[in-house]
């Protein structure tokens, strides 16, 4: 659809993950000509979020693992005598051990497709079948879908469903996406006029039961993150968002609860002053102890004698010496400092505790924020910023090779999938694009991830709209603590009546091996036969996904072979809870490339942008004047706003 790309840029960025997107925005903001490409058909790389059908396509892609892009062989001709080409990787190897389990009942005598979602991008790359389904574009009206949600459905499993077109499902024989679609909507109406035929529907409680076809139909309500992170409310990312005013593109929710898992029970951890005083689970004595200790942590640096001699000793040991009950020690160690590893020193533990307390209360009762519509929004916010300042975006656009000058050992250009040679001064490459050969000496760590769709919260309260974080400490030595983040539907990441649960830990085995024990402790698989056995039962899993993601965050650039000096490498997501690593990386690389430029300064005040509407000054094609002097900072203008705005 688009004409050829310009043949010269200042910066070419390959990959649209968070660090790359921040750098692209920073470069574009400082007036550089930026080309930002991604071979995938979505923004964000391993930082992306997907609708349910988008995720199914993603899964399929990694399970098939075989697709090759058609490439033009013309590129060799484009490499001159005094140049050599460094090929880039065609296949993404960062995701492994993808396993899917579907527990929700699959009443698939109907053809089900995602309501209103065309999702062409995903479909076009993966399954031809789903493309057809998408193209048929039948848009059931919302009323119909709603009536389905609120009605009990009989669960019939039909052997006729087509397993081929579905992603591999391990212990269930059918899934949603069926090959041939029917574009009549009557099927849905039939579904909703539910006749309880199957025997097992008889004892069903008067509850909404979410079926797999509902998940498919409401698939657009899901925004499922590949990485599960939160923003510390005083972390680097929040500060960058505010400083650059990219925050205008994003909205957030507060994490509402910090949870702990002790003796088989999930309980809420009091962390703010108000929480501590209102807590019913703590005795008066404990309340005083905890407040005293937390107050000390806020200013531990001023009382070095309090922890003298313990600096390098395990934090957990130090806590034992403090006046804290085991209960409180557990809370501080696992839920507040979130340093479950036995190796964490007292100094690091105190630092983490202070950071936690420092972030409390800026926006809410916990230190964390979650972006509405998922973490995948954040790279896109920076991409938008880049585009607004002139950056050019091409998804589904792969780069075949970097062209390096033999003499200077500098990269001069890229050659893209169409054989077009595009020159640039600087090149940023996300590490998954680097060829195997280049990375042969690199040792990667892995992150284990699980994504669950469940039917209720791990800790029920009056409100069903809670966003919670829970740390489950490691059970055996050598394994690591598992971070659990439970999102409710008001985060815009899952359909009403469901919860989206993300589990994350540093891998010691495959994701499923690492995480399944914790999943089994907290959840139970959804089964059709189940009757209301216990009143207080665990949340039931409707659908589960496990996968391992490569963690390249700590790789030194010297590990890569033959890297030209003007090619900079960005890493994929790390395992940490916050996003500091990505921001630091982006800022460091940007400063290396443009040592004298400001990193993401606030955009000019609207009042100061002058668009020259006159055609008689052809020379002034970029006639936007940016008077720096009197530009108001966004903070100041925020001050002018009604401070109550969020609740307005």
């Amino acid at each position: 659809m688009a004409d050829n790309l310009p043949s010269e840029f200042d910066v070419i960025v390959i990959g649209t993950g968070l660090p790359e997107s921040i750098i692209a925005a920073a470069c574009s903001r400082s007036g550089q000509r930026v080309l930002h490409v991604d071979s995938r058909n979505y923004y964000g790389g391993n930082w992306a979020s997907f609708s349910f059908s988008g995720l199914l396509s993603w899964i399929k892609e990694y399970q098939e693992n075989g697709d090759t892009t058609n490439e033009s062989s013309r590129w060799q001709e484009q490499v001159l005598e005094n140049e050599e080409a460094i090929g880039l990787s065609k296949k993404d190897k960062t995701i492994q051990h993808v396993e899917v389990f579907c527990y929700a009942s699959q009443d698939l005598h109907e053809d089900v497709e995602e309501a209103g979602a065309l999702q062409k991008n995903h479909a076009s790359v993966t399954s031809a079948n789903s493309t057809e389904a998408a193209d048929s574009a039948c848009l059931p009206t919302e009323d119909e879908s709603l009536s389905i949600v609120s009605c009990e459905m009989s669960a019939e499993q039909t052997p006729s469903s087509d397993p081929e077109s579905a992603p591999e499902v391990n212990d269930a024989e059918a899934t949603g996406e069926k090959g041939d679609h029917c574009d009549d909507k009557t099927s849905e109406e039939e579904t909703s006029t539910n006749v309880p035929t199957a025997a097992d529907t008889i004892e069903q409680p008067k509850k909404n039961r979410i079926t797999y076809s509902q998940i498919i139909k409401e698939g657009r309500r899901f925004n499922i993150d590949l990485v599960s992170k939160l923003l510390y409310s005083r972390g680097l990312l929040i500060d960058l968002l505010i400083k650059s005013n990219v925050s205008r593109y994003a909205e957030f929710k507060n994490i509402t609860r910090i949870l702990a898992f002790r003796e088989g029970r999930v309980e809420q951890v009091p962390c703010s002053r108000a929480d501590v005083f209102n807590s019913k689970q703590l005795s008066m004595v404990e309340k005083r102890m905890l407040m005293k200790f937390l107050t000390f942590c806020m200013e531990y640096e001023e009382h070095p004698d309090e922890y003298k001699g313990y600096e390098e000793i395990a934090f957990s040991e130090y806590l034992k010496t403090q006046k804290l009950t085991p209960n409180l020690q557990y809370f501080v160690l696992h839920s507040i400092a979130m340093t479950s590893e036995t190796t964490t020193t007292t100094l690091d533990g105190l630092k983490a505790t202070k950071n936690f307390l420092h972030c409390l209360g800026r926006y809410g009762n916990t230190p964390f924020l979650f972006p509405l519509y998922g973490q995948g929004e954040l790279p896109q916010c920076f991409c938008r910023m880049c585009a607004v300042f002139g950056g050019i975006y091409c998804l589904r656009h792969s780069v075949q090779c970097l062209v390096v000058d033999k003499e200077s050992r500098k990269c001069k250009a890229i050659i893209d999938q169409f054989g077009q040679r595009i020159m640039s001064t600087h090149f940023l490459v996300e590490d998954s694009y680097l060829s195997e050969n280049m990375c042969s000496h690199v040792q990667y760590r892995q992150i284990s991830r699980a994504v669950l769709i469940t039917d209720r919260s791990v800790l029920k309260t009056d409100s069903d709209q809670q966003i919670s974080i829970l740390t489950v400490p490691a059970e055996e030595p050598g394994t690591s603590a598992v971070r659990v983040i439970e999102l409710c539907s008001s985060t815009m990441t899952c359909m009403k009546g469901t919860y989206l649960v993300h589990l994350t830990c540093t891998s010691s085995k495959t994701a499923r091996d690492d995480l399944e024990p914790v999943v089994q402790k907290l959840f139970t698989p959804f089964t059709e036969m189940e009757i209301e056995k216990e009143e207080v039962e665990k949340p039931r899993i409707l659908w589960a996904l496990y996968f391992n993601m490569r963690d390249s965050s700590d790789i030194d650039r010297n590990c890569y072979k033959d890297l030209p000096s003007n090619v900079y490498v960005c890493s994929g997501p790390d395992c940490a809870l916050g996003n500091d690593n990505a921001v630091k990386q982006a800022e460091t690389l940007f400063q290396q490339i443009y040592p004298n430029e400001d990193f993401c300064p606030p955009p000019p005040n609207p009042e100061d942008i002058i668009l020259d509407g006159d055609s008689s000054q052809p020379g002034a094609s970029e006639s936007i004047a940016i008077p720096e002097a009197n530009s108001e900072t966004p903070e100041e203008s925020a001050n002018l706003e009604n401070p109550q705005a969020p609740s307005e």
């Binding site: 505010i242 925050s247 975006y393 006159d614 203008s637 401070p643």
Partner: protein, 243 residues
């Protein structure tokens, strides 16, 4: 008509304090209750192929100005237009241009999000841009729905009609049919250059949005955090200080 005007500087307010979505809630209209006034803030998208005149339409509409001198939209998220709809109602329109260079159809969700309506523009002198209209509409519907699940109102603009007076005259019926099939609420022949029909098209779109509005009020999302808003005297000043 203004093309011969003397050099003139136009100030674009990309984001006045009130112009940003800060006052709007989740996908919804913001009713700011000051005085007996009702104020609505709507985000509108202006979509279409490269060079069909999106920026010209916005500039004509917002600044009463037209320039035949092509210029990509740089550093500007949206332009703000204030309409005095009736004595009690003020409507603020944010017109979001597709950041000129995002021209390969890879718009971010950020662009689409929370929009209440859209103009899809084509150039009557270039049939290929009309062929792309259905593609843009599909793309829009796949990425954006109102909180109630319905597609947003879209008006089709046949721009540059000053250059091809009768191309569409004969095709009026066909156009009506096309709009019906593809779910446009209406279509207009426009000219940013001659200032034809732009106000009318906008009124048509706003009318449809206002009509849809009542069923959306319930979908207002509470407890949303907007960092730049709720952080009046914050730490970030320290990071600004070094800039």
């Amino acid at each position: 008509m203004e093309t011969k005007a003397t050099p003139q500087r136009i100030v674009t307010r990309i984001e006045g304090e009130e112009g940003s979505l800060e006052t709007a809630r989740q996908g919804g209209p913001a009713a700011r209750m000051q005085a007996p006034h009702k104020e609505h803030l709507y985000k509108l998208l202006v979509i279409g192929d490269l060079g069909v005149g999106k920026t010209s339409i916005i500039k004509r509409y917002v600044h009463q100005n037209f320039s035949s001198h092509y210029r990509a939209t740089i550093g500007v998220d949206f332009a703000l237009k204030v309409l005095h709809w009736d004595p009690e109602t003020v409507v603020r329109l944010q017109l979001w241009d597709i950041a000129g260079q995002e021209r390969f159809g890879n718009m971010t969700r950020v662009y689409y999000r929370e929009a209440m309506g859209a103009f899809i523009v084509f150039d009557v002198t270039r049939p290929a841009t009309f062929e792309a209209v259905a593609k843009w509409k599909n793309d829009l519907d796949s990425k954006l729905t109102l909180p109630n699940g319905k597609p947003v109102s879209v008006v089709l603009l046949a721009n540059k009609c000053d250059q091809a007076k009768d191309v569409l005259m004969n095709n009026g019926l066909k156009m009506d049919q096309f709009c019906k099939e593809h779910g446009f609420v209406g279509w207009f022949e426009t000219s940013a250059k001659e200032n034809i029909n732009i106000d009318e098209a906008s009124r048509c779109l706003v009318k449809h949005i206002l009509a849809n509005e009542c069923d959306l009020m319930e979908s207002i999302e509470p407890d949303v955090v907007k960092p730049h808003l709720t952080s009046p005297k914050v730490v970030s000043c320290s990071s600004c200080a070094k800039s």
